[in-house]
């Protein structure tokens, strides 16, 4: 049952990810990307990471893709759609890089280089305490520095975007 659900979600995620690249119409690409994120959220749910699944939908599918869609819809991209897909050496280099990436992935996952270190929170303990509570506890004790750095990164994002956009506004 679980395996079946995983296979379905994984296939949907992969198919929509491929569709993102293949689609000519940019709005359709964005919609398929949203579908990819939703299936990823489903996969997170299967891994008992409910908080992460919800965050994936809220931030990624709900905020970032809204930004994407705003920009895509407001730009008139019809000229881009008509342009034919060029073959030639671009395609060759792309295939070569894809093969290298596939080789790397096979080495990492197949060769057993990645070993996970089991932490102190097993799934039973997490569901007893509550998913979000555990994240909260760890985030503000062990992982405090990354958390504060996140705020600095976000501040830089706001300032950067406004600086770039102000040139258009004026």
């Amino acid at each position: 049952m679980e395996l079946g659900l995983f296979i379905v979600l994984a296939l949907v995620a992969m198919a929509s990810a491929i569709a993102v690249i293949i689609q000519r119409n940019p709005v359709y690409s964005a919609l398929y990307l949203i579908l990819t994120f939703l299936s990823l959220a489903g996969l997170y749910l299967q891994l008992q990471a409910q908080f992460i699944a919800a965050i994936q939908v809220i931030v990624y599918a709900g905020a970032i893709m809204v930004l994407f869609l705003f920009v895509i819809m407001l730009l008139d991209l019809r000229k881009e759609e008509q342009r034919a897909v060029k073959g030639g050496y671009q395609l060759l280099i792309g295939l070569l890089l894809a093969a290298i990436l596939l080789g790397e992935l096979g080495l990492v996952f197949g060769g057993g280089v990645l070993k996970g270190v089991p932490g102190e929170f097993s799934p039973e303990k997490v569901s007893a305490l509550g998913n979000t509570q555990v994240v909260g506890r760890l985030l503000f004790t062990d992982f405090l520095l990354p958390f504060e750095l996140t705020s600095v990164i976000l501040l830089v994002a706001i300032v950067g975007a406004i600086v770039l956009a102000k040139r258009r506004l004026d």
Binding site: E2, L45, Q46, Q48, Q50, F51, I55, I58, V59, G62, A63, I64, V66, L67, F70, V71, L74, L75, D76, S127, G130, T132, Q133, V135, G136, R137, L139, F140, T141, L144, F147, E148, T150, S151, V152, L154, L155, A157, I158, V159, A161, I162, A165, K166, R168, L169
Partner: protein
């Protein structure tokens, strides 16, 4: 836990089936279908449409969505902090206030630079 989401999925399925049933099945049996070019053209208060259907890109939509992303991420960090509040000490409160303060600096910058103006 998995059962919970299965019921949500079931509810979702019932919802989608209901909607599709009303639009496609029921309505299709009952409604007339007499298209003509006038009816199918774009509505522009009764006139013939002028120009294409795109509008000029205003960068302010982008800015609103961007500031929304940043504060949505902040909200996302606030949720685990809020539910673990009793177990964390006063120090965690200070940490979160620093986080919010840094992002408030960002909001103040956006305000001052006029990114939040809708004109």
């Amino acid at each position: 836990m998995a059962a919970d989401y299965a019921y949500v999925g079931l509810f979702l399925l019932v919802g989608i089936l209901f909607v599709v049933f009303t639009i496609e099945v029921l309505s299709r049996l009952l409604r007339p279908s007499r298209p003509n070019p006038e009816k199918l053209s774009t509505y522009e208060c009764g006139e013939r449409p002028i120009g294409g259907s795109w509008i000029q890109f205003h960068v302010r939509y982008y800015l609103y969505a961007l500031v929304y992303i940043v504060f949505a991420v902040e909200t996302v960090f606030l949720f685990p902090w809020a539910v673990a509040f009793h177990r964390l000490g006063f120090f965690a409160f200070i940490e979160m206030m620093i986080f919010i303060a840094i992002l408030l600096v960002g909001l103040a910058y956006a305000w001052k630079k006029g990114a939040l103006e809708w004109v």
